[in-house]
């Protein structure tokens, strides 16, 4: 193993195993005791191979990769072995490690916004990566020139000029490209990408994944990609490792794991994600409970408290990784499919689908859903709503730089018992729309009517009365509840504000808690004592307190881990059916919208570009932007994912302060790019009007054409 590595004829790179981690243990001291973040982890990465590591937050996936880089904080205790190209990394000094870091192993971090030093130019930071390993043999000019080439390689337009920009002048996607440029600067043999696209929009995520693939082709490096999103790795990774509570619970070739997961946790994870390519409503599998605390793990399988298949034996000893199917003996690394579960045979049965094992069912629709749309009451009617505000620049020295047309004339309505999904990338104006509706103030232009009452014309008293019918559930369950109030008071607050009697409130709070699946005794506890999913349930209970007609949901599940997400989505679905609620569901995750919404509106730069029945829009989208959005969503199915063509949008969202003339999407539109000059002129000059293309399907595009993209 420690012999000189063989070199590949094609790439001139070492072949065989690049990284071999065995029995890695990492622990940190904490207030409540030592946290065992990684426990006995072993894996290998072959040259040129892509290994996906999947797990929820706190599963130890990031910590283990930081351990490889030797970048854990000093108080971390690391043991086991990390061998890179045959030499042991644990115990090496910082100086020795710094010769390997950035040269042989490089890393791409999760949050591109804070990954670059704010005070140096992007070009200088890339050049630094080159010069620090060149040991004086590279001049500043050479390094700068090479930095520009690298920026060009990762797809930054005008690289020479952009290299002189500071990080804050780059968008998130561009910063992540710059970080990738740093990572590939010295042609490394291993690239570790820690949630490289989590902080990015879906279209940008598709771009960055594309760049990572290019990077791999250029460098021939092995890649470790860490993610919580089973979709992201499906089309990219060769092998997969699923982590839970600091250990690998399943590993093997990616196709095998997606097709035949043998660990109930993996099965649940796969079943808990709504799929954008679902033809009809699929049941969503919630994994109950929450991951265990890593301070004091009880004996037995750490997943057993949440596992539907758990038997007594599961609680006695933690299962080893057991071989399910032997792998290819000629592969440079071990490709055996293994799972840490003693009940794998149960999952081998043909009827062991996630829904069956976890007992999830499709939730039935409310009776009102069968009434034709035109005959139902309109709950919310938004007409030509506009919201413009001035934008300031600079963190401290604020100056006005222009007018942002965050929402620029949008119209939609929601009827009783209906869910409208409002989707779009960050900055498209969907949150602003929502706040405009919730403020109940007269908008800059246009009108908002709740239950037929125009809010601009309401007096103070009527406005307060209308708030009863319009409630909100926020995105972040941590921030949505006042940490100083017991949740009973949190839920009672709206009723107190609206002058309900004490007796009524006392009776209603336990009722509401029950409705969202919590217990009456919970009323006395503080929000800090609940998990994220439970807090979101409290938020929903608060929204239900006044028996509203319409609930506005601002990304209600995006802050939750996937396994928790499903439970909350199911709850929302059930409440809707049971109470006949209408939802305005704002989300960036189209799969969730596909699952829960009846109609969907796609926003781009303050405009609705496509709106209609959810099946129509998802199955036969006509606007190029909708098509690009849908095509960018990864599908957790390696076979399908590999054969899908992907529409990669170029560039970032233009500034809403200075939107392109005519059609706002034209600067990034792939259809526009292929038009003749004459046809292009129409897009440049004329803003496409919203036109009906079919029953309940409006599109705003001059050249709308159906494309199948999912």
């Amino acid at each position: 193993m420690s012999a000189a590595p063989e070199l590949s004829a094609e790439t001139g790179k070492p072949t065989g195993t690049v990284l071999e981690v065995s029995d890695l243990d990492v622990s940190f001291p904490s207030e409540s005791g030592r946290v065992h973040a990684v426990r006995g982890l072993s894996y290998q990465v072959a040259a040129g191979e892509v290994l996906g590591i999947v797990g929820e937050s706190g599963s130890g996936k990031s910590v283990s990769s930081l351990a490889v880089m030797g970048l854990l904080p000093p108080q971390a205790r690391v043991s086991g072995s990390i061998r890179f190209q045959g030499s042991e990394l644990i115990g090496k000094s910082d100086t020795d490690l710094s010769k390997i870091r950035g040269k042989k192993i490089s890393m791409v971090f999760q949050d591109p916004l804070s990954a670059l030093t704010p005070v140096y130019t992007v070009g200088a930071q890339i050049a630094e990566a080159l010069r620090v390993h060149a040991k004086g043999s590279m001049s500043k000019q050479e390094a700068n020139k090479r930095a520009v080439e690298l920026l060009d390689l990762v797809g930054i337009p005008n690289a020479a000029q952009r290299a002189k920009a500071f990080p804050h002048e780059f968008s998130g996607g561009m910063r992540q490209r710059a970080v990738i440029a740093i990572a590939i600067a010295n042609d490394p043999d291993l690239i570790i990408a820690d949630e490289p696209t989590t902080a990015l929009d879906v279209t940008v995520q598709a771009q960055v994944l594309e760049v990572l693939k290019t990077a791999q082709e250029v460098t021939g490096a092995g890649i470790v990609i860490i993610t919580h999103d089973l979709g992201v790795v499906a089309g990219f990774a060769d092998r997969l490792m699923v982590m839970y509570a600091g250990r690998a619970v399943e590993q093997g070739p990616v196709e095998t794991i997606y097709a035949q997961p043998r660990m109930p946790y993996t099965l649940g994870l796969l079943g808990s994600i709504p799929r954008v390519d679902a033809q009809e409503k699929q049941p969503l599998v919630p994994i109950e409970g929450q991951p265990p605390s890593l301070v004091d793990l009880p004996p037995g399988c750490p997943f057993s408290p949440r596992c539907p298949l758990a038997i007594d034996a599961c609680r006695e000893a933690e299962p080893e990784l057991l071989t399910i199917a032997p792998g290819n003996p000629h592969a440079p690394v071990d490709t055996t499919h293994r799972a840490a579960c003693i009940r794998t045979e149960e999952l081998a049965r043909p009827d062991a689908g996630a829904a069956e094992v976890y007992g999830a069912e499709v939730i039935e629709e409310a009776p009102v859903a069968s009434v034709p749309r035109a005959e139902r009451t309109t709950v919310l009617d938004v007409r030509e709503l506009e919201k413009h505000y001035s934008v300031t620049k600079g963190a401290v020295l604020k100056r006005k730089v222009g007018d942002v047309r965050a929402v620029d004339g949008i119209s939609f309505d929601i009827v009783e018992g209906e869910t409208l999904g409002l989707v779009g990338e960050s900055g498209c104006g969907k949150s602003t729309t929502l706040m405009e509706i919730l403020e109940l103030a007269a908008p800059s232009a246009g009108s908002v009517a709740v239950l037929g009452k125009n809010v601009a014309k309401l007096g103070g008293k009527d406005r307060k009365a209308i708030r009863r019918d319009l409630q909100v559930v926020f995105q972040d369950p941590m921030a949505a509840l006042d940490p100083r109030l017991p949740i009973g008071d949190v839920i009672a607050e709206p009723m107190v504000v609206h002058g309900y009697g004490k007796a009524h409130i006392e009776q209603r709070v336990p009722e509401l808690l029950g409705l969202v699946g919590l217990r009456a005794e919970h009323a006395e506890r503080y929000p800090a004592e609940f998990s994220g999913g439970q807090r979101q349930r409290v938020g929903i209970a608060r929204a239900l307190a006044l028996e509203p007609k319409l609930i506005v949901l601002d990304e209600p599940v995006s802050a939750l881990d996937v396994s928790i997400q499903a439970g909350v989505i199911n709850l929302l679905d059930e409440l809707k059916a049971k109470l006949g609620l209408s939802y305005l569901f704002v989300a960036h995750d189209l799969s969730v919208v596909r699952h829960i919404a009846d109609r969907v509106a796609v926003m781009y730069l303050g405009k609705i570009v496509e709106i209609g029945d959810v099946r129509t829009v998802f199955e036969i989208p006509q606007h190029p932007y909708t098509q690009a959005l849908l095509s960018a969503i990864p599908i957790p199915d390696p076979a399908r994912e590999r054969e899908r063509g992907r529409i990669i949008l170029t560039g970032d969202l233009p500034s809403p302060a200075n939107p392109p003339s005519g059609c706002r999407f034209r600067t990034r539109c792939f259809v526009f790019a292929q038009l003749s000059e004459k046809d292009k002129q129409k897009c440049i000059d004329v803003e496409p009007p919203r036109e009906s293309r079919a029953e309940d399907h409006d599109v705003a595009c001059h050249y709308a054409k159906t494309r199948e993209v999912v």
Binding site: G172, G394, V497, L515, D652, S655
Partner: protein
């Protein structure tokens, strides 16, 4: 009535309820206990607290056991070094230094405490109102803050000193507080600005809660730790301001004494009659130091270790960031 929606939800709540119960043992008595534990782990902070309590006791009970009163003179002993009769020695006219130091300590501590409470109160009201209401309330109050920050409080109070000479020392308390709230107000305003954007405050607004109730019910209670810490630190600052003024004769006036007037009187004779200077100076420094240590310990205990939790918070936001909200405002126009 409480109808669980399906089996799964029931199971979920049962499991987590059990979890929560097991955790409850150290949480039921809640934050208070945790804070106390963190505080008492910090030895310097505990020492600070003990010193403060001890000094208070000493200062307010000295007349019970001290053989001399602070305004009593012993013509037989002038400029005597500390001994059995005069524990801390005597001054030029035979005043007993122990009685005087205790009387001074009493005055300085009282003024410091009152001024700090008063100024933190003003700061929280002005800061929260400015931050929450915004607009002109914000502009006007921050302009006043800027204005008052230009002039060192010491300067203004000393200018005003001829006017309150011979009047009650409570005026001095008011003046010190009046010129000490600005920085706290700014911090409170900044925190209010963040809290205002927090979703639970928005939720309260969207359910129709009026502004003043939101400030009273959600904003100020959520800054309680900051305000407690700040009030503590402000005690130290107020004591320093008071003694500084008194040092020049602009604060507490004879025949009353404060640590400042004593130090002033002793400072000319540091080398010849050191006890006249070092004893009151020592009390002053130890008091302020104790207050600062206690304040620092409180910060660590209450503000669940500002840096650590802040980092965690940042990480959490990061995890959700891109999936959700728009990028930072300055990056909006990056591509254009």
């Amino acid at each position: 009535m409480a109808t669980p929606l399906n089996e799964a939800d029931l199971a979920d709540s049962a499991v987590t309820a059990a979890d929560a119960r097991s955790e409850k043992s150290d949480k039921s008595s809640g934050r208070g206990k945790l804070v106390a534990r963190r505080f008492f782990r910090n030895r310097l902070a505990v020492a600070g607290l003990i010193v403060i309590v001890l000094f208070y006791l000493l200062a307010f009970t000295y007349s019970w056991y001290s053989p001399w009163a602070y305004d009593e003179l012993d013509p037989a002993a002038t400029l005597m070094p500390p001994d059995g009769t005069h524990w801390f020695g005597t001054n030029q006219i035979g005043g007993d230094m122990f009685a005087q130091a205790m009387r001074g300590l009493q005055k300085s501590l009282t003024i410091g405490l009152l001024a700090a409470l008063f100024s933190t109160g003003v700061a929280s009201i002005v800061g929260a109102a400015a931050g929450y209401l915004g607009g002109w309330t914000d502009r006007i109050s921050m302009w006043i803050v800027d204005l008052l920050l230009i002039l060192p409080p010491f300067l203004i109070i000393s200018i005003l000193s001829p006017a309150f000479r011979g009047k009650t020392w409570l005026i001095l308390v008011g003046l010190i507080a009046l010129f000490q709230w600005m920085i706290t107000a700014r911090i409170v305003r900044g925190m209010t600005l963040t809290l205002r954007e927090r979703e639970f405050v928005k939720a309260a607004r969207f359910m129709g809660q009026p502004a003043w109730r939101i400030i009273a019910k959600h904003i100020v209670p959520n800054m309680a730790s900051l305000l407690i810490i700040d009030a503590t630190i402000n005690v130290g600052v107020a004591i320093i301001t008071e003694t500084s003024l008194s040092f020049f004769g602009f604060g507490v006036q004879a025949p009353d004494v404060s640590l400042g007037t004593l130090i002033s009187a002793g400072s000319d004779a540091v080398r010849t009659f050191p006890w006249l200077f070092y004893i009151p100076a020592g009390f002053l420094v130890v008091t302020v130091l104790a207050v600062n240590f206690a304040g620092d310990g409180l910060r660590d205990a209450l503000d669940p270790s500002s840096s650590r939790s802040r980092r965690k918070e940042r990480k959490r936001i990061k995890e959700n960031a891109g999936k959700t909200k728009s990028p930072a405002p300055e990056t909006v126009g990056a591509q254009a």
